[in-house]
Symmetry: C2
Subunit: 212 residues, 2 copies
Amino acid sequence: MRQEPRQSDITGHPRQTSRMENIVRYFNHYLPLNSEEKEALTSRLVQRKIKRKQYILQEGDICKYFTFVLEGCFKMYGIDKSGAEHNLVFTAEDDWIADIDSLHKEKPSRLFIEAVEPSTILQISKGDLWYLYTNYPKFDRNFRVIIENKYIELQNRLLQTFSATAYERYESFLEQYPGLTNRLPNTQIASYLGITPEFLSKIRNAKSHPGP
Amino acid sequence: MRQEPRQSDITGHPRQTSRMENIVRYFNHYLPLNSEEKEALTSRLVQRKIKRKQYILQEGDICKYFTFVLEGCFKMYGIDKSGAEHNLVFTAEDDWIADIDSLHKEKPSRLFIEAVEPSTILQISKGDLWYLYTNYPKFDRNFRVIIENKYIELQNRLLQTFSATAYERYESFLEQYPGLTNRLPNTQIASYLGITPEFLSKIRNAKSHPGP
DNA sequence: CGTGACCCTTAATCTGCATTAAGACTATTT
DNA sequence: AAATAGTCTTAATGCAGATTAAGGGTCACG
């Protein structure tokens, strides 16, 4: 049913060269950085390649980095006491991911952040980020806006969770993340929607064979 | 069952005097303001008294203000297509409330913000807030941290919603908001927990008469 | 190229919570 | 002080989605 080859298949062998320009371009959507700020930022970023299923944060660890995704896709999830995973967010290209609670308060995280595809990321440590905040106020501004947008996303998600059925939430997911639908297995989408894969299967079936 | 008199009963006739010093004290928990910043902030705040059940934001309106609660309590909620309310957050003394989505993008809100007690608030308009951001970088910083904390709160709430039963969520609510338990009717708490008042009643009953 | 680790689906059964209804109690308004 | 509107509880019935089980498909990797 998954028609298109995955991103990683298209790309072939990703080059090992630095791709800091992507993050600079990203900031142009907010308050663009001048050359001094660019240098301050890029000199503090570390580029890493992450394999599928590799963690960049595990439960119990303290989140040390704010991570920018250049390529690939991550899920951030918690595990309940019966062992089931619950996806809080997906994060793909040109987006940030971190457990802000753990990062800020330097307390052990209750979450995992795991690559669902082979990925390339840029990471900045908390200390370096704080340095940028203190010395270049524009970063305070830019990250304020980034967090605000993430807050809005979560707020809409929470409202949906309370006020819509699983079927409606699935429809919304398809509209909101058309790019991710073909990249993620249904088990992951089900976990994001707060239902079981079996029930998602039922929903998809009902959708393609609508009753009288 | 509600033993203690409400805040408003204790206070009697609240004075009409300005209480800007509360918000200045609040900012001391973040980056404290110097006298110029205090003046810039307080000269842009408007103090208002709000009656119980009065709205400061209604669905369809554009959210114009960031609101600081001096006294009283508000709920922010959405209404689903069958007319049921779903509380996203409660906001009491020394906390901020706004529909950030509507405020930022100047689009009609899908939410209501309503006083659940007679309240006193301070409001700053979007334009004035943007002025502060632009001219006093400390406000970028302080509001970044405020939003981050609100993001953390929502993230924890979403995780709980997915991974805990209604009974467990009720227990958490009691732990996390002991001060609000006696101030809010159970209908409002049920709406926050994502259940009906009837089922909350059942939970409370099971809690006080635990089976064998 | 085979074998195990996922993944997808169907179907039967089960359950947490909703819905509906109704009565008692309690605030708030007049 | 009465009228009204909101609140709390109990109980019967209903349903969305979980659980369990099982069969078949597909992909990664030795």
